[in-house]
């Protein structure tokens, strides 16, 4: 006789049921697998991309315990190195020049340049483990004596058909320069960082090519073994002039982690939407399967099985199904991650304006554990309620009941719950606005989704009655019958509509998010920038930003007779009050000449605000920064610059600035930050009708020397819109999987409905309905589900996107966007919902129509 524990742990009965109902339960397994796959893929890709960014930080830091920078990669005098080296506890202080260059072969490959003193063996060993520097170059003397000498990553060189002795033309901020490869470094340490896209040169040659004689932009510090890191760090900081910062590479890692945490969590939450849709499908299918066993369970209860035993046995089945879903979903997720990773990494780099990385998947146990947990828990949650209900059905009722019941009543409770969820979401939104706790946004999102799902029931009940007349006009008696069936089987149809509503609602949500982002950027920047042409480097250095150019280009452009006005713009991130903000600097003309820029300001700006910004005595801020920091017009803000803290008065709030930003005059910026680089140059042509001619002439004159891109303003804005689309490409994978899930869910729901009504269809055929009429009935039911699903999707999609665009995005990422709903997409989405439902209903409709009536009539 088996012990109670043995009975509890035995899965024999559960396995038998799963095998017997295998065809019906495939849906559950697939739904669980889809959710698991998406979560595992997103989590794995998140980890891989984060690891690659962290590896870049590590690779570039080498073995340095501390790093001295201006905080923003700006150049500062090398003289500081001597002061640092003399601090007790410092073993070695290594000056560096770091910059970005591009191979001029049309590939657009961004190369990180590191200039280090190659004669200093100790300095080299900080970054690369070799016995001597001569092991990297054949003839060190020859290398050092020629300022065009560079060392590159061996594998990278091989990929580009280069080797020792090959010339390499690199586009630098000061223009095109010719170098010669005189050494190759193996892929470890520095060589491995950034996928080997590294150029090493002698420090002094790098200063001449990228900064200026005597100017470096980083000092790496090695400490004595016994040195206390914190104390030495403080001591070093005291020796440094204002504007220079000592940081630990580990802290930089934390900064990268923190910066990306919110974004990666957001992606995981989006993946969970698919899990939710899968859970709804599982619930629907398991409920159907368990209900079909009502009579059997009634019999078991009648002969003595307790409710608890029945409930536990049913849960065991769901555990098995969850396990099967995990077995399928885990490898599927790994395959998805393998193919989606490059786009994922690219999108993340664009979002955070980071250099592109070559991410590699390295599956950690936590991704697998997360997938298992999601799959098993989702399956068990989906089964819990149907199992509880069946287990608690009274035996006599179960034995007698054959599906004939009174028509459904009530629904007031669901309306109340949906309203409560909506109310809760609104309240959470207000609390979030007041407290700036971005995490509350996930609570709000959950409440909106839950409320939408609960509202599906009342929507089906009410909607079916409303469409009944429409159906009668369009489809005659078939339409009336279809509407009646949908209204009667409200519980079943609610699940199908909920799946459709959530799935397509999520797709609509993602689409509106991306569209709002794109259109906001285009509209806001399009309203600001008025010049005909935009000139920038042909290369992208970080995310979507063009590589920096020397401001010499500005002077050359301004000297042309066919150019009326030239305004340079620069963008960099700076630290303000513990977090990063964007610092936009524009030449003063931008604030004075409406031919170049227009600056609508929010009410309350100081008198003469723009003039004061132009002369460098004030700044503008974005509304998102104002709101986040509780600033007001007239307040002062202080930004740390290499030349010392910059106290800046807020003179106004830029009405159309999407990012969390400070806007100032470039005249002041270039002095305070010692930065003479520019990112974009806006050109007003003397004769607007000849803009195309001027554009061609600019490209010919400066294009080859600086490797420039000259675009019309429309093209420039289109480029930025394209970058937004690329950044959102991460979501396309999720949309694709969600679509498939939804299709599956609808097919499953309609097929379940046909299965349950087998005898009814047999009766209809016996009484005289043709096959086509029966098919038509099922298809119209499917279309009705599609229509109701579209209505729910519209509600969920609009609510979610409205909240995220207007509240959550600003809170999470600091972006200030307009909600733009693509009308054509919404209409297309509604049509797609109906089409999806029809396609999902096709197979069940065929089955219903071609049922052998006799066999159908015998069906229990």
């Amino acid at each position: 006789m088996r012990t109670p524990i043995a009975k509890l742990l035995s899965f024999r009965l559960a396995v038998r049921h799963v095998v017997f109902d295998a065809r019906r339960l495939v849906t559950t397994v697939v739904a669980v697998a889809a959710g698991v796959a998406l979560v595992v893929a997103v989590h794995g890709m998140n980890e891989a991309v984060l690891a690659s960014f962290l590896a870049t930080v590590d690779g570039l830091a080498g073995r340095a315990a501390l790093t001295i920078t201006s905080g923003e990669d700006l150049a500062f005098p090398e003289i500081s190195v001597g002061r640092v080296a003399s601090v007790p506890g410092v073993r070695l202080a290594v000056p560096l020049v770091r910059s970005v260059a591009f191979l001029d072969d049309g590939s657009g490959d961004a190369l990180t340049v590191m200039g280090v003193d190659l004669t200093n063996e100790s300095a080299v060993r900080v970054y690369h483990d070799v016995d001597r520097p001569e092991d990297v170059v054949d003839d060190l003397l020859a290398f050092l004596s020629q300022p065009d000498s560079i060392i590159v990553g061996g594998r990278w060189a091989q990929e580009h058909g280069l080797g020792v002795g090959s010339p390499a033309e690199l586009v630098t901020p000061s223009g095109l320069r010719r170098f010669v490869i005189r050494g190759l470094v193996e892929p470890q340490g520095l060589g491995a960082a950034l996928g080997g896209r590294v150029v090493v040169m002698d420090l002094y040659a790098a200063e001449r090519a990228f900064t200026a004689d005597g100017l470096v932009n980083q000092v790496d510090v090695l400490l004595d073994d016994a040195a206390d890191v914190a104390q030495t760090k403080a001591a070093i900081q005291e020796t440094l002039p204002p504007g220079l910062v000592v940081s630990e590479p580990a802290v930089r890692r934390d900064v990268v982690r923190t910066t990306m945490a919110g974004f990666q969590t957001m992606l995981l939450v989006f993946a969970m939407l698919a899990v939710f849709a899968g859970l709804v499908i599982c619930y629907s299918r398991l409920r159907s399967v368990f209900d079909a066993r009502t009579w059997e369970i009634g019999l078991l209860r009648a002969v003595g099985l307790s409710r608890t035993v029945v409930f536990v046995e049913l849960l065991k089945e769901s555990l098995l199904l969850g396990g099967l879903g995990v077995l399928v979903g885990l490898p599927a997720g790994m395959v998805i991650a393998r193919f989606a990773l490059p786009a994922f990494a690219r999108g993340t780099a664009i979002n955070f304006r980071m250099p592109p990385v070559t991410a590699t998947l390295a599956w950690q146990p936590v991704s697998v554990q997360l997938g298992i947990a999601v799959g098993v828990v989702a399956a068990m949650i989906a089964a819990a309620l149907p199992a509880y209900r069946i287990a608690n059905t009274r035996p006599v009722a179960a034995l007698r009941l054959r599906g004939l019941g009174a028509p459904p009543r009530g629904g007031v409770g669901r309306v109340a719950i949906a309203a409560a969820c909506l109310g809760g979401a609104i309240a959470a939104g207000f609390v979030q606005r007041a407290t700036d706790v971005a995490q509350l946004g996930f609570v709000t999102t959950g409440l909106l989704v839950a409320g939408g799902l609960v509202a599906a029931g009342p929507l089906v009940r009410t909607g079916a009655h409303l469409v009944s007349r429409l159906h009668a006009v369009l489809f005659g008696p078939v339409g009336r019958l279809a509407a009646a069936e949908v209204a009667y089987r409200v519980d079943r149809e609610t699940l199908a509509v909920a799946t459709l509503g959530l799935g397509l609602g999520a797709v609509l949500f993602f689409a509106i998010l991306g569209w709002s982002f794109e259109q906001s950027l285009v509209a806001q920047l399009g309203a600001r920038f008025q010049a005909q042409l935009v000139v920038n480097s042909a290369f992208v250095s970080q995310g979507w930003m063009a590589a920096p150019l020397s401001e010499d280009v500005v002077a050359e452009l301004a000297a042309r007779p066919d150019v009326a006005q030239v305004v340079a713009q620069h963008l960099r991130d700076v630290q303000y009050d513990g977090s990063r903000v964007s610092l936009f600097s524009y030449d003063p003309s931008c604030f004075r000449d409406p031919r170049v820029c227009r600056w609508p300001l929010l009410a309350g700006a100081e008198s003469g605000a723009l003039e004061r910004v132009a002369d460098g005595t004030a700044v503008l801020v974005s509304s998102s920064l104002l709101r986040e920091r509780g600033l007001r017009v007239g307040d002062d803000i202080t930004l740390d610059a290499p030349t010392g803290p910059q106290r800046l008065r807020v003179a106004g709030v830029a009405q159309q600035e999407p990012a969390k930003a400070v806007i100032m005059s470039r005249a002041r910026y270039r002095v305070a930050w010692s930065d003479h680089m520019v990112t974009w140059i806006h050109v007003v042509v003397a004769d607007p009708s000849k803009a195309a001619t001027v554009r061609a002439s600019l490209a010919a004159q400066l294009g080859s020397r600086y490797r420039l891109q000259v675009r019309s303003m429309a093209e420039f804005l289109a480029y930025l819109a394209g970058q937004v689309r690329q950044a959102f490409s991460l979501l396309y994978v999720m949309e694709g999987i969600t679509f498939l899930l939804v299709m599956f869910g609808i097919t499953d729901a309609v097929a379940s409905g046909v299965l349950e009504r087998t005898r009814q269809f047999g009766m209809m055929r016996a009484i005289g309905l043709t096959r086509l009429r029966v098919m038509e009935l099922v298809l119209v039911e499917g279309a009705t589900l599609g229509l109701l699903g579209a209505a729910l999707a519209l509600g969920i999609g609009l609510l979610l996107s409205g909240f995220w665009v207007l509240v959550q995005f600003p809170a999470l990422l600091g972006w200030n966007l307009d909600l733009v709903v693509p009308g054509a997409f919404v209409v297309a989405g509604a049509v797609l919902s109906i089409v999806l439902a029809l396609v999902g209903a096709l197979a069940p409709a065929f089955r219903a129509g071609w049922l052998p009536a006799m066999a159908a009539l015998r069906e229990e």
Binding site: L404, P407, L481, A484, Q760, I767, G768, T770
Partner: protein
Amino acid sequence: MDPSDAPAIVTAIDVHKSYGPRDAPSVALDGVSFTIEPGSFVSLVGPSGSGKTTLLNLVAGLDVPDRGRVLVDGRDLATLRDAELSHLRLRLIGFVFQAFNLIPSLNVEQNVAWPLEFAGVRRDEVRARTAAALESVGVGDRARRYPGELSGGEQQRVAVARAIVTRPRLLLADEPTGNLDSHTGRVILDLLRRLNQDEHVTVLMVTHNLFAASYGDRTLELRDGVIGRDVASPPSVAAEV
């Protein structure tokens, strides 16, 4: 025209039907032949597995014989396409099932009306004929109720109303009292009898209950796939009715 002069409404000629694998078929009908005259009430009796329901399904055109012919209203069912068979069933034949088979999402009135709607009858005529059919079976006051709110007897009466609302000439009933108690079953049988006598609807009723069978004026006994006896119903029972 006197119904007795009309051609047979159902003719079965040497009908054979088997099921199951070819190497071990289960013979349901093994050469059945009979005719049913218009206006008659025929009971088809026999033990379980004798082929009664198979024969009924063949007469309804829901299945085709392996050999032999089944003619309804002079038309060989095997020569008709599916759409023509459906047309025949909708307009000529009424069907009463053992398990009632009402559509739970429709109320009583809608359950009875839908065959007329699918037959293309005008709405006002649908309404009138539905009301008349419900009255004739004694559930006129239940029109707005749903099947789940009715007793078994009431559900079967609604099913009979559905079967007769299209004014069929042939009513097929498959164990119409099988799920009912004796009193309620008798009510249904009385209904069928009245339809046969007053409306001249030909009734072919499958039953294993001899009392029910006595309501017919003719009894066909099926045994092992062949007709064993073809007799007039016992006069004592018919007189009692």
